[in-house]
C-alpha cells in the first residue's frame, strides 16, 4: 500500500517537474509549501531552503505584493532573475485559504504586443505626412476655381475621404498612446462643466443634430488627464449623435453616484443588439458593416473611451434596446472625484 503511494507520489512529482509553467502551493499565511522545478528556473526559488518562507519575502515586486492582497485576474512582473523576461502570475485560491500560484513566461507575447504597437504607431505617423500634402493640394484645387465644374463633386468627395483618413490616423495614434501608457492617469483638477459645455455647444449647433440636453452637477469635479477625459466625453456624444435621427433626443448627464461619479449619454437612437455588446469596444468592430461607415465613424472611438477610462480607474457600462436607444455610462471611482459638499449632503440629495 505505502509502496503504491510512494510510486504515485513520485509520478506526480516527475510529472509536475516536467511542466514548463511554474506552480507554487501556498498556505493560508502565504507561506511556500511546495513548488515544482520550473519555479526555480523562472523565479529563482531554492527548493532546499525556501519552503516555509512567505512568498512575498522572495517575490518582492510591488505589483505582485499588491496583487497578492487582492488577486484578480493575473499580474505580470519582470522575472527576479532576469529583468528582460516577463512572468504572468495567477493565484488560484482553494481549500481553507490555501492557494496555487501559476507562473507562465510571457516574454514572447509581451514582445509581440510591443512590436504590434510600435508598428501601428510608426505606420500612422508615416502615413500622416503624405496625407497632409494631399489635403493641401486638394484645398488649393477646390478654391482655385480653375477646374471645370464636372470636377467639383469628385474633389469634394476626395476631400471628405482625406479628412476621414486623417481622423482614423489620429484616433489610431491616440489609441496606441493610451495602450502603451500602462500606469494610471495623473490626478489633475478638471472642471467638468468647462469641458462639457463647449462639446455640447459644438454638437447642438450642427444643422442636422438631434436635440441635446445637458444636465450637470457643476460642483462635481474630476481628477485626471484633461485631454483623455475630453476624448471620452467627445467620443460618446459623437456616437450618440451619429446613431440618433434628427427627431430624437440625447440626454447628457454628469452626476454623483454615492461618493463616486457618473457621466452618461442616453440616446433614443437605433440601439445595439445584445450579442454585439461584449465586443463593441474592440477596435474596428462594426455592429453593422454599412451603417457606421456611412456616418463617418473611425471604428476606434469606443476603444479609446475604454482605454482612457481604464487609466482613470473607471468602468464603462452599456445598456441598449433595439429601436429604443442606448445608454453609455462612465463610472469614475471616489478617488477620482472632488466635490466641495460633504458626502452626507449628497446622500440626502
Amino acid at each position: 500500500m505505502t509502496d503504491r503511494y510512494k510510486r504515485l507520489l513520485r509520478e506526480v512529482r516527475e510529472c509536475t517537474d516536467a511542466l514548463q509553467d511554474g506552480g507554487i502551493i501556498l498556505n493560508s499565511a502565504h507561506e511556500i509549501v511546495w513548488f515544482n522545478s520550473a519555479v526555480t528556473n523562472l523565479l529563482g526559488l531554492d527548493p532546499a531552503r525556501d519552503r516555509g518562507q512567505r512568498v512575498d519575502n522572495l517575490i518582492r515586486h510591488p505589483d505582485f505584493v499588491a496583487y497578492q492582497e487582492d488577486p484578480q485576474g493575473e499580474v505580470v512582473i519582470p522575472s527576479p532573475r532576469d529583468p528582460e523576461r516577463h512572468l504572468a502570475i495567477q493565484l488560484v485560491p482553494y481549500g481553507k485559504g490555501q492557494s496555487l500560484a501559476i507562473i507562465r513566461d510571457v516574454t514572447r507575447q509581451i514582445r509581440l504586443e510591443r512590436t504590434r504597437r510600435d508598428f501601428i504607431a510608426n505606420a500612422s505617423h508615416e502615413l500622416r505626412s503624405p496625407l497632409t500634402v494631399i489635403s493641401g493640394y486638394l484645398d488649393a484645387l477646390a478654391e482655385g476655381g480653375e477646374l471645370p465644374e464636372s470636377w467639383e463633386a469628385p474633389i469634394t468627395e476626395t476631400q471628405r475621404q482625406v479628412d476621414r483618413m486623417t481622423t482614423i490616423l489620429s484616433d489610431l495614434i491616440e489609441l496606441t498612446r493610451l495602450e502603451s501608457s500602462e500606469d494610471e492617469a495623473e490626478y489633475e483638477f478638471i472642471d467638468v462643466r468647462e469641458l462639457l459645455e463647449p462639446i455640447h455647444a459644438e454638437f447642438s449647433n450642427r444643422s442636422k443634430s438631434p436635440r441635446l440636453e445637458l444636465r450637470l452637477d457643476a460642483e462635481l469635479a474630476l481628477l485626471g488627464n484633461e485631454s483623455e477625459v475630453h476624448s471620452i466625453f467627445f467620443n460618446l456624444i459623437n456616437n450618440a449623435v451619429r446613431f440618433t435621427s434628427e427627431a430624437g433626443d440625447i440626454q447628457i448627464q454628469w452626476r454623483r453616484d454615492g461618493a463616486a461619479a457618473v457621466f452618461s449619454v442616453a440616446d433614443t437612437g437605433i440601439g445595439i443588439q445584445e450579442e454585439h455588446l461584449p465586443r463593441i469596444t474592440e477596435r474596428f468592430y462594426r455592429v453593422d458593416k454599412g451603417r457606421s461607415r456611412e456616418t463617418g465613424g473611425t471604428g476606434l472611438g469606443l476603444a479609446i473611451v475604454k482605454h482612457a477610462l481604464q487609466r482613470h480607474n473607471g468602468r464603462l457600462s452599456i445598456e441598449s434596446q433595439m429601436g429604443k436607444g442606448s445608454t453609455f455610462g462612465c463610472h469614475f471611482p471616489e478617488t477620482r472625484v472632488v466635490s466641495p459638499r460633504s458626502p452626507q449632503r449628497v446622500v440626502v440629495n
Partner: protein, 243 residues
C-alpha cells in the same frame, strides 16, 4: 497557555514586520529599476515619477519603524528576536537611503533626457547599475533567507562596484578637460555614478546586518579577512539557532 499564546503572536508580528521590510525592499528595487530605465531610455517623465514616488518608500520606513518600537516594548522577546529587530531598524534606514539615491538619479536622468546623448548611451553607467541592482537583489534575498554565505559574497562584490565607479570618475575628468562644454552633462553623469556607488554601499550594509543577525557579531569596519575569521570562529562554536 495564555503566555504561550502571547509569545506566539509576538513571533507572528515579528514575521510580518520582516515581510514588510522585504516588501519595502521590493519597492526600492523597483524605484531603482525605473530610475535606471529613465536614464537609458531618456524618459524624463519616468524620471520625475520616480522622484515623486519616493514618498511611498519614506512612508513605509516610518510605518515599519513604529512597528519595531512596539515590538521592542512587548514582553517575550529573546536575544535572537532583539537582534532581528535591531537589524530591521538598521536595514530600513539603508533602504530609505537607497530610495533617496534613486530619487536623485531619477531627477538627474530627467534632466539628461533633454540633452545630447553619447554614442554609447551611457554604457558604463548601465553596467554599473546592473551590478548594483544585482547587489540590492541579492542582499534582500540574503535577508529573507538569513543566508550568511550569500551576504558575504555581496559584501565582497562591492569592490567591483567601487572600481567601476573609479573608472567612470576618471573618464569624466578627462572628458571635462578635453571639452569644457560637456562639463554640465558630465557632472550630472558623475553624480549618478556617485549615487550608484552609494547604493552599493547601502546594499553592503544590509548584508552586514544579515551576518550580525545570524552570528551575533558586529563585523562592520573590520575588513574582509576579519569578517571571514569571525564567521569561521562562530561556526566552530555553536551557530545560534536562527528561527
Amino acid at each position: 497557555m495564555k503566555s504561550g499564546h502571547a509569545t506566539h503572536s509576538f513571533g507572528e508580528n515579528l514575521e510580518s514586520v520582516r515581510t514588510a521590510v522585504l516588501n519595502m525592499g521590493g519597492l526600492v528595487e523597483e524605484q531603482f529599476e525605473r530610475a535606471t530605465r529613465a536614464l537609458s531610455e531618456a524618459d524624463s517623465e519616468l524620471g520625475l515619477q520616480v522622484a515623486n514616488d519616493d514618498s511611498k518608500v519614506n512612508k513605509m520606513e516610518v510605518s515599519i519603524d513604529g512597528e519595531c518600537s512596539r515590538l521592542l516594548a512587548a514582553p517575550g522577546a529573546t536575544a535572537n528576536d532583539l537582534r532581528l529587530i535591531l537589524a530591521i531598524i538598521k536595514t530600513i534606514t539603508d533602504l530609505e537611503r537607497i530610495g533617496d539615491e534613486a530619487k536623485k538619479m531619477g531627477m538627474l536622468a530627467a534632466g539628461l533626457a533633454a540633452v545630447e546623448r553619447p554614442s554609447t548611451n551611457y554604457r558604463d553607467l548601465r553596467n554599473l547599475a546592473r551590478h548594483v541592482k544585482e547587489m540590492i537583489h541579492r542582499a534582500l534575498d540574503a535577508f529573507a533567507r538569513l543566508d550568511d554565505k550569500e551576504a558575504l559574497e555581496v559584501v565582497k562584490s562591492d569592490d567591483i562596484v567601487d572600481e567601476e565607479y573609479e573608472t567612470i570618475y576618471r573618464q569624466a575628468i578627462t572628458f571635462m578637460m578635453e571639452d569644457p562644454r560637456t562639463i554640465k552633462r558630465v557632472m550630472d553623469i558623475t553624480w549618478i555614478a556617485r549615487s550608484l556607488e552609494r547604493i552599493g554601499d547601502h546594499a553592503k550594509n544590509i548584508c552586514e546586518y544579515v551576518i550580525f543577525m545570524v552570528y551575533g557579531e558586529d563585523i562592520r569596519h573590520t575588513g574582509l579577512e576579519n569578517i571571514e575569521a569571525a564567521i569561521s570562529r562562530a561556526n566552530s562554536k555553536q551557530k545560534p539557532s536562527v528561527d
